[in-house]
Symmetry: C2
Subunit: 386 residues, 2 copies
């Protein structure tokens, strides 16, 4: 390939930027449509070594972004995986070159529904094509190739990030040395789809959504997006964790006998909704939830999940789940592991005991840190990454 990409800062140099692929290098989508020009926003941590053997791609979840280990430019909060990426942590930038991209369809710099549609010069809105997890991964592969990296030492991520890991193993196994899939599933279940549909309907019911063209009208469907976030957020936490954290504790002394937030859990959820709309785009939420709902890795391989991994026998897999995760339960990870085994892949698996639910991969979970540290150290030793 001819490297025609331009970057606002060179990706190897340190902290990332936005990689712009020219018109002539579109992202070809599963829908049959193409996306051009394509921009992929990314962050990097650490330095690519001379052999280019130490690159780790970290894939973010539904509402995540490329700011995995750096201060978020909107919220000012630490990156979503700053507990895992950093000096002395399992993903140590002194050893690895860590890349995190904003998925295509996202709203933190990569091409998405809020980007300018070259056909009109205005935001795509609903003219943006529906995308898939495979499309996200294809865009990442374009960036990795543009960076001159032939093989990733590892690809990893939790939740939707884990689905991207599985898609990488299916579509680009030759570019992978190892793969760590956390709290994911090989396909979206009926219940998963149902929760997402509630969120989409909440957004589309908001009159400020304006058929997706809210940017043209100078409004945002904040109330609908907040409700969507609130519904989804419940699925990220386990029932015991909610009970332990909030129980029936009140905000004030006594009940209000009204519809104020009487219970702390109500106030917490309202805050989750309100703060989310500051940093996320409603149309991106529609498109990314749709990509998740469309995800069914086996479907592209004759319904045989093991077939998806048939070319990945050389890849070292690690599959992790959380015992109290009811969004993508341990049974889903076991299905992945069975398929990996059936395909003849090397797969280690651990169910981490925790009451923290799906979001445990973001949270203080020492067992996760230890497991990641051990797996990456062992894989690095095998690959000769110092």
């Amino acid at each position: 390939m001819t490297l025609t990409a331009e970057a606002t800062s060179h990706p190897g140099a340190g902290d990332g930027g936005t990689w712009r692929f020219p018109e002539g290098q579109p992202l070809r989508l599963d829908s049959g449509a193409s996306l051009a020009p394509l921009e992929i926003a990314y962050k990097t941590y650490g330095t690519l070594n001379a052999r280019k053997s130490n690159a780790i791609l970290v894939c973010h979840a539904l509402t995540g972004d490329q700011h995995a280990a750096s201060v978020h430019p909107v919220t000012g909060k630490p990156g979503w995986w700053s507990r895992v990426i950093g000096p002395g942590l399992p993903l140590d930038p002194q050893r690895y070159f860590i890349i995190c991209t904003n998925v295509v369809g996202g709203c933190m710099g990569s091409t998405g529904p809020a980007s300018a549609d070259p056909a009109t010069g205005r935001s795509y809105g609903l003219a943006f094509p529906v995308i898939t997890i495979a499309d996200m991964v294809r865009a990442q592969a374009m960036l990795i190739e543009a960076m001159g990296i032939e093989t990733l030492f590892a690809v990893t991520g939790g939740s939707m990030g884990g689905m991207q890991v599985l898609q990488w193993a299916a579509d680009y196994p030759e570019k992978l040395f190892s793969a760590v899939c956390i709290a994911a599933a090989p396909r979206h279940s009926a219940q998963n789809i149902a929760f997402h549909e509630v969120g989409r309907q909440a957004i589309m019911a908001d009159p400020d959504w304006r058929g997706g063209a809210y940017e043209l009208h100078g409004v945002r469907p904040e109330k609908g997006l907040a409700v969507a976030r609130m519904a989804a957020h419940i699925t990220y936490l386990s029932e015991p964790a909610l009970q332990r954290k909030f129980g029936r504790e009140l905000q004030r002394d006594g009940l209000s006998w009204g519809f104020d937030a009487d219970f702390q859990v109500e106030s917490y959820l309202r805050h989750q909704g309100a703060s989310f709309v500051d940093r996320f785009d409603a149309n991106s939420y529609l498109y990314i939830t749709r990509a998740l709902d469309y995800f069914d890795l086996a479907a592209g391989h004759g319904g045989m999940l093991a077939q998806a991994f048939a070319r990945a026998r050389h890849v070292r897999f690690c599959v992790l789940s959380f015992s109290s995760d009811w969004l993508y339960a341990t049974a889903e990870s076991r299905t992945i592991v069975r398929a990996l085994n059936a395909a003849g892949c090397r797969a280690s698996f651990a169910e981490i005991e925790t009451d923290k639910g799906h979001d445990a991969f973001f949270l203080d979970e020492p067992q996760l840190d230890l497991t990641l540290r051990g797996f990456f150290a062992s894989a690095a030793h095998l690959r000769g990454v110092a």
Copy 2:
């Protein structure tokens, strides 16, 4: 008491109507407020025997109503418990006099937020006082007394109906011979409150809600109420049941690559939302979910659930749960049973194995029918109900 109530048809006569308590006989509420005039809409099935020993009060769930075994006047569908109430069924009107009332706060004829506020002559809207499960039960007790029934042969219900059963046992044990509590909990958990808060926020985010005064404006917050119903409906079904019923089955051949209902589960949920708004009032949904969130039976008894049942040692209890119910899980029913045991009450308990989730008590569940039939037959024998 002086029987000053008026009924549009006499309750013992057959099919019910609306019982109107006069201004001078208000419903005294837990909040400290009073509600007058109070109307309670009810249906009856069967005939009260001469000894008045065969009356069964059936309590409905959040979105249910008094039409337990008769055709619903709005939807034209069979009553919500027509599988259980009827000739030859566990609750046989040839043997029992079965009463079902619309809860106070409801929207099918009992006094609720859509009723005329005597202070203004217009709908209460948010001027309606916040009500509790105990208030609902107090209104039922007023009706039972007005009907001249001193002791109920049984009180029963599922979900919120089960909570009313527990409240009856706490507040009016002297009026009970037996009590059957199905798929309920002794208090609303943080997760329960969280799901309800999502629904309330969806309703209140709808601009047609108009601060609860939508009736004055000739509009209804249908979109918000539909989203609330969709979110709640997911909690009524188990994940395996959703998967078995819908899986990833599509509505049409192939994906739409858009935001139409591609998956059957999406179409099903949209239908659940759309049909719900035809028969339910948004403000009633706010008030009844609030009553559920406020429910914590132990709180009124020094935090000791067993104390709530201290006067109910003579009552024969049956507590039933469904193995796949994650809204009010079996653990909640076990908590109830432990408290009953600690209080020295007679309690039988069964967890019914089913994958149908919380809504199993509405559905074709032969084990439930058998259990109810056995319990009621045995209790009827003990009480000498022919």
